[in-house]
């Protein structure tokens, strides 16, 4: 019985490695946390899951009217509504996921203060629970594509890569913000602001080609640039700047790694200060 499992608890300080083995042992809990978030998100709402598609749909209609009809913004190929929706679907996923995960530790403070399990699961679970909403908005996009007679190509098989990149970006930033939020409740006010600004520095409304070539690398530092470009390319077959895409995807991977490290470093003090 003994010897099968041995653990030494001692003070930790500084950077901590990620305990993959432990995360693997608790993997079912991550599933349960995601399932819980999905279950309760639309409990006791009238429209339920419709909210998942209503948000990008309304945004798409407004954007098409304001930016396309009034301001004259053009897409780089597909009809503007499709172009806008293909960008809004991942962007709304990202913004909702970032909001949810930034608040996740504080919202689950009872768990943090009373039970031990890999704390990484809380913000990451909050992000993953929103994949269901993303799925619903993609379904709506397919419906819209039928309406606009826009054919799906084999490039759609690349979509999982970009969904994964969106997951990494939202989780990476969510890990950092949720950990900071334990200490500094300022984060709660900063996140909506960051999201609002983020929409304009991500090519959701406009195509990347609107920017002069020398500014594009700057845009590529935003991890969501690559995701939005990738979604459009995979689903609508729009052309893209490979160097921008590559850099942006690398940024999302780096962001996730940084998120894990920062979270692990701050983790040991959560229970004492939350």
């Amino acid at each position: 019985m003994n010897g099968s499992y041995q653990l030494v608890i001692k003070p930790r300080s500084g950077w901590q490695p990620i305990n993959w083995h432990e995360a693997y042992l608790h993997r079912e809990l991550l599933g349960f946390l995601i399932w819980r978030d999905i279950k309760i998100r639309y409990r006791q709402t009238l429209l339920g899951g419709v909210w998942a598609v209503l948000q990008p749909l309304m945004a798409m209609l407004i954007f098409t009217f304001v930016f396309n009809r009034l301001a004259g913004v053009r897409s780089d190929g597909p009809p503007y509504p499709l172009f806008a929706f293909a960008g809004l679907a991942p962007w709304i996923f990202f913004s909702n996921a970032l909001t949810a995960s930034s608040n996740s530790l504080v919202a689950n403070q009872q768990l943090v203060a009373k039970i031990y399990f890999p704390r990484l699961f809380i913000p990451i679970g909050a992000v993953m629970a929103l994949l269901v909403d993303l799925g619903f908005s993609l379904l709506l996009l397919f419906v819209l594509m039928i309406k606009y007679h826009w054919a799906l190509t084999f490039h759609a098989l690349e979509l999982p890569v970009y969904i994964f990149a969106a997951l990494l970006s939202a989780s990476g930033l969510g890990l950092i913000f949720s950990a900071l939020n334990v200490n500094f409740r300022d984060i709660k006010y900063a996140v909506p602001f960051i999201i609002q600004m983020g929409l304009f520095v991500t090519p959701v409304i406009y195509p990347v080609s609107y920017l002069p070539a020398r500014l594009r690398p700057l845009l590529a530092l935003n991890p969501m640039t690559g995701v939005v470009m990738g979604f459009r390319s995979a689903l609508l077959g729009t052309p893209m700047d490979m160097s921008v895409l590559r850099l942006s995807l690398i940024v999302s991977v780096v962001l996730f790694a940084a998120g894990l490290l920062i979270f692990r470093r701050m983790e040991r003090r959560f229970a004492d200060i939350i």
Binding site: I9, K10, E28, F32, R36, I115, D186, A271
Partner: protein
């Protein structure tokens, strides 16, 4: 075989400033880092530190049921939090050789919007159970909780009793090698508490190691073989459960700032008429004649030795001791006039008189003792608040449960009688 858990000089320091002002704002951090204004305030907050645990070392052996007792703030919860890996020790280490599950609070992770069924799965997973494990124990958990009918109702519509029953049931079906439990028995109604205690002893008899933290001495007495008493973050005692409880009682009594000998001569009198002070002192002993500083388990024996002085000879005298509860109600009067056999004759000079109560069955609580002296049929001295007596929980009924209301406990039995015959069950 090495101990299953080894605590080695575990200490935990908390910064009080951080606890009071929950979070430092970003502005304060920046100011601190940049050494701008507000520095003094922040430093003052940082300096308030205290050690919740200081050099705690002890071992837990496999299969042992260990009770950790101590007053509020003694460090029990901090110890469990470190053991459960919720927070790190500041110094020292703990070595654990087995799978450990801890229950610091029942129902952690329950979500009000989810149904009973859903919460069983969620809570089980949070407590470290595998999905397959939960599935196999599901029926058992439901049966134990007695909420079958409401399984598909969101738990926010549950009564608090149902909620707690379901929460405990999930926890009770955990199957680790080491179980850490904090005060969870103080939940639910009496019948459910009995069930919980039953489950606890079942667990402990199953050869598993249990660490049990409680204020409930009855439960500790009933379940534990060994006890560790914590006081102000340090191990005060580590040994048999019975002795640990005695030590705990002493440590509790110490705070009342009352030794086992109480000075009556200099105690304030309220009588208007100035009289000579005759009552001299009062001493508390257990029925085994061990000095006892005013704290005793319910149902234990109590001896009170009262010394007084008669400067002039008296033909007869009596001593009375009244026990008032915290509400100021007289709950019991011990008076020597009820004693059938007394020495006759004349009494003069220092006297010693003992009152022996073989079993004081007042319910747990604090009592104020009033003591008075009669001589020749007249009251000659009175001390209104002579002493305080703390009666604490004990396993009076042998069931691990203690009454929470009423004034005293009495031995009694229940049995059922059938209409046509007699069927008893003692």
């Amino acid at each position: 075989m090495p101990p299953i858990i080894e605590f080695r000089n575990v200490s935990k320091e908390y910064v009080l400033g951080g606890a009071v002002r929950q979070q430092e704002t970003l502005r304060e951090l920046l100011m601190r880092k940049l050494r701008l204004g507000g520095k003094v305030e922040v430093e003052a907050a940082v300096k308030q530190r205290f050690w919740a645990l200081r050099d705690v070392s002890f071992n837990v052996n496999e299969g042992e049921v260990l009770g950790i007792i101590g007053r509020n703030g003694a460090g029990k919860s901090t110890l469990l939090k470190i053991l459960s890996r919720i927070t790190d020790p500041t110094t020292g280490s703990i070595e654990i050789r087995g799978r450990l599950a801890s229950l610091l609070e029942v129902g952690t992770g329950f979500h009000p919007e989810l149904t009973g069924r859903e919460n069983i799965f969620l809570n089980g997973a949070i407590l470290g159970m595998r999905r397959s494990e939960i599935v196999s124990k599901f029926d058992e958990i439901v049966a134990f909780s007695e909420v079958e009918k409401f399984l598909d109702t969101p738990v926010k519509r549950y009564s608090s009793g149902m909620y707690v029953r379901l929460a405990f049931s999930v926890a009770a079906h955990l199957n680790p090698e080491i179980l850490v439990v904090d005060e969870v028995l103080a939940v639910g109604d009496m019948s459910f508490q009995k069930k919980c205690l039953g489950k606890m002893s079942e667990v402990s008899q199953g050869g598993r190691t249990v660490i049990f933290v409680s204020h409930n001495m009855a439960a500790v007495q009933n379940l534990c073989q060994r006890g560790v008493v914590l006081s102000q973050g340090k191990v005060l005692f580590n040994g048999g459960a019975e002795d640990a409880i005695q030590q705990y009682l002493h440590s509790v009594a110490g705070t009342a700032e009352q030794g086992h000998i109480i000075d009556l001569l200099n105690a304030p009198r309220t009588a208007k008429k100035i009289r000579p002070r005759l009552l001299d002192s009062m001493e508390f002993f257990t029925d085994g004649d061990v000095a006892m500083p005013g704290t005793m388990p319910m149902g234990a024996g109590l001896k009170m030795r009262i010394r007084f002085n008669f400067p002039d000879p008296v033909e007869s005298f009596d001593v009375g001791i009244g026990f008032d509860n915290v509400y100021g109600q007289r709950v019991f009067t011990a008076h020597s006039c009820f004693e059938p056999e007394r020495d006759g004759g004349t009494h003069v000079g220092p006297q010693t008189f003992v009152c022996n109560i073989p079993s004081l069955t007042l319910v747990p609580g604090e009592y104020v003792l009033r003591i008075w002296l009669d001589a020749n049929g007249r009251e000659v001295d009175l001390v209104n608040e002579a002493a305080r007596l703390q009666v604490i929980e004990s396993d009076y009924y042998g069931t691990g449960r203690v009454p929470w209301n009423g004034v005293f406990v009495l031995k009694h039995h229940w049995y059922s009688e059938k209409a046509n015959g007699v069927s008893s069950n003692s």
